[in-house]
Amino acid sequence: MEETQNIDVTKNPEGEDAIESTKQKQPEEVEHHCDEQQKQSQCEEDELRKLLLSDIGELPLSPPSAIQVNFVSYFITGFTKPGHDQYIYRHANGLCVIGLAPTHIAFKDQGGITNIDFNVGKSDRSVLKVSGKRKKNAMRSESNTALCKVSTANDSYIVRCCVKGSLLEVNERLIKQPQLLNSSADREGYIAIIMPRPADWTKNKESLITLEEYKEKKQDILLEPCLL
């Protein structure tokens, strides 16, 4: 115990301030000071733990997900073709995440989605090089601009932007792992991120439906409501 105190003494010499503080401590006082320091840091740790633990409130069995907390979910059904249902998650900062809604007909095919190809329309969307805060070189898209083509064993389906804006990013992980679309189309299987202008979004929003409306519309088809 005394050893520790001595080490503390050498570690914490009296500072040499420009404004001389004449604190000439007696040896007993120095030891007392170190003891206090140890106590104080222990005290601070206890305080911290109290703060951390006391703030834990209700712990619901299934808390809302990050998507539910930070995004507003919109849907569009039968976009350009029947069964082509997609979601648009809009963040408070205006960015929209686009993906396949659970009722998209691609999921009905045996084996699910086996392949995705971003080379549609005039260019390969997966070789975008958007840079900088101003998002230079982002492709400007209309709502019916093709994003990609997803293929199943039987058929292939075009996925479109649904939102007019700048295409910031496509999920190129899907190229190597198309099964993400089958397992978690609403999260890691998202397809693209688009940044609409405020005016464009206001107009666009009119053709979209809310989560509630979507659920009603598709209640027969949805077998796993907790996906949402």
Binding site: H91, G132, L180, R187
Partner: protein, 508 residues
């Protein structure tokens, strides 16, 4: 001795009148200055409308320094003029060179004409002192700054050119002339020191005397600096071409209005440092207003700055912190270092008052924010801030939920991950204002703390490289941060809340 004071032959005796009275007391230099005055040049300038001090400045060989400055105007008039000049006309004409600056004639900001009665600088100093005192600063040293209209130097150049033309070989023409600005400083600095009771040096407290041209002057404020500069060049070229004193514009026009003088005091910014704690999940670090609505119920910046500013009687403050946290993240542990910069403080609060401010914030009813080690800090403040930036590690405690029950092996596998490298694409929540990049970051260590009676929630303690997005590390940001807690544990993970538990800053 009397030989030294006898006028040289050929000089008019009126010139040296002032000398003879009490001549033995005046310094040698003043005598010599008086004697060196060329009478015809003096008469010339007087008739043009140049004031006595400017004449003395421009025509003597000696430098216009504090010795010459103490010579009163009436003495000067005695040296320079004949009896007529001494019966000074009630309307003193404004000098065409210095526009009344060296005559201590000016308008105040209410457009009232001010003419100093005592004209050796002390009256002017007293007037300035009044205005300085009104602004309420506490100081023991000051730095005097003078700003004059550019036409004064143009006028001087024109007069010198004219003199060069007429008196080309005189000795007094060759010497370096003291500018009107420096002459004013010489005249006013000593009396100002006395009446303010302060030293004059390169202080952080500035007293600025700004002389500006009266607004209805033709060459006044409407002209841009560019236009004025252009015009200045034109005048000079014209003269050099002609080789005579023919000047395209007449700078010898009578001046009807003196300058407007305003006195402004400014204290250089002072800094206070400390560490802050944020106990609320509804308080932003800095003032955050979107569409006229405040986000959160308060801000750290306003709580701390708003308490310090009144104690300094300053104009405004700026808040700088070593890093930041989201509005819904608490700042606990040792606190985050910050600086408060106060503009134009009138007084510097004592350490005692700072301690009181600290206590007031810490004991406030709502306990939104806490402060520690609040103190005055000098120029080393920026080095201290930089310390907290990119190289340092940050420690956090996150409340995490997973979609499957926690197992014992999870705790072990997580604890064994040291210096884990992760790749984070710019999180979606900031992607609208930051570059889309992929950033590599390091998680130095992690520790899982189980929560009693609950297998789906736990406390994740982790220490990470500065610049790591913790929330995205937990929930994965739709797979854009890899690996994430979810991918490591093979299930879905969500972050419920986050606290910063330590911001390491060097040794402190």
């Amino acid at each position: 001795m009397s030989d030294e004071t006898k006028p040289a032959s050929g000089d008019s005796s009126g010139l040296l009148n002032g000398l003879l009275t009490g001549g033995a007391e005046k310094p040698q230099r003043v005598n010599e200055a008086a004697r060196s005055l060329d009478p015809s040049a003096v008469k010339d300038l007087l008739s043009l409308g140049v004031c006595e001090r400017c004449i003395l400045r421009l025509i003597t060989v000696a430098t216009f320094d504090s010795d010459l400055a103490t010579v009163s105007s009436s003495t000067l008039r005695g040296w320079l003029g004949s009896g007529e000049e001494e019966a000074a006309s009630p309307e003193m004409s404004i000098c065409i060179v210095c526009l009344g600056v060296l005559q201590f004639v000016f308008s105040d900001d209410k457009q009232t004409l001010v003419k100093m009665k005592s004209d050796c600088g002390s009256g002017h100093a007293a007037w300035i002192t009044d205005l300085v005192k009104q602004q309420g600063h506490e100081f023991d040293s000051f730095c005097l700054e003078v700003s004059l209209p550019s036409t004064i130097s143009e006028n001087e150049r024109a007069v010198l050119l004219y003199l060069k033309g007429k008196y080309s070989n005189e000795a007094w023409l060759q010497s370096e002339k003291v500018s009107v600005k420096d002459a004013l400083k010489v005249l006013v600095l000593d009396p100002l020191r006395a009446s303010l009771g302060a030293k004059s040096d390169s202080s952080s407290f500035h007293i600025r005397l700004t002389y500006s041209k009266a607004s209805d002057d033709a060459q006044g404020l409407s002209e841009t600096t560019h236009e004025r500069k252009k015009r200045k060049t034109d005048v000079v070229y014209a003269d050099e071409e002609n080789g005579s004193s023919c000047i395209s514009e007449n700078p010898f026009e009578k001046v009807y209005e003196p300058c407007i003088l305003s006195v402004h005091c400014n204290q250089m910014p002072i800094f206070f440092s400390g560490r802050y704690f944020k106990y609320s999940r509804n308080v932003s670090q800095s003032r955050w207003i979107i569409d006229d609505e405040r986000m959160g119920e308060a801000s750290v910046e306003e709580i701390i700055g708003g308490s310090i500013l009144p104690a300094c009687l300053g104009d405004s403050y700026k808040f700088h912190a070593a890093g930041r946290e989201d509005i819904d993240v608490r700042m606990l542990g040792s606190g985050r270092p910050f600086l408060i910069e106060v503009q134009n403080s009138r007084k510097c609060p004592s350490q005692q008052s700072l301690t009181e401010i600290e206590e007031k914030i810490n004991n406030s009813e709502k306990k939104l924010v806490g402060v520690k080690d609040l103190k005055f800090i000098g120029s080393e403040c920026w080095a201290m801030m930089r310390e907290g930036e990119a190289e340092k590690q940050k420690q956090y405690a996150a409340l995490v939920w997973i979609s499957r029950p926690l197992e014992e092996e999870d705790c072990n596998s997580i604890s064994s991950m040291i210096e884990l490298k992760i790749l984070q694409k710019t999180p979606i929540r900031v992607l609208h204002r930051r570059s889309p990049l992929e950033r590599e970051r390091t998680i130095h260590w992690m520790k899982l703390e189980k929560i009693k009676g609950n297998t789906h929630y736990f406390l994740l303690h982790l220490c990470t490289q500065a610049g790591t997005y913790i929330k995205e590390f937990v929930h994965g940001d739709l797979g854009r941060t890899t690996p994430s807690m979810g991918s490591i544990l093979g299930c879905r993970a969500e972050i419920i809340q986050l606290d910063v538990t330590d911001v390491k800053m060097g040794d402190s």
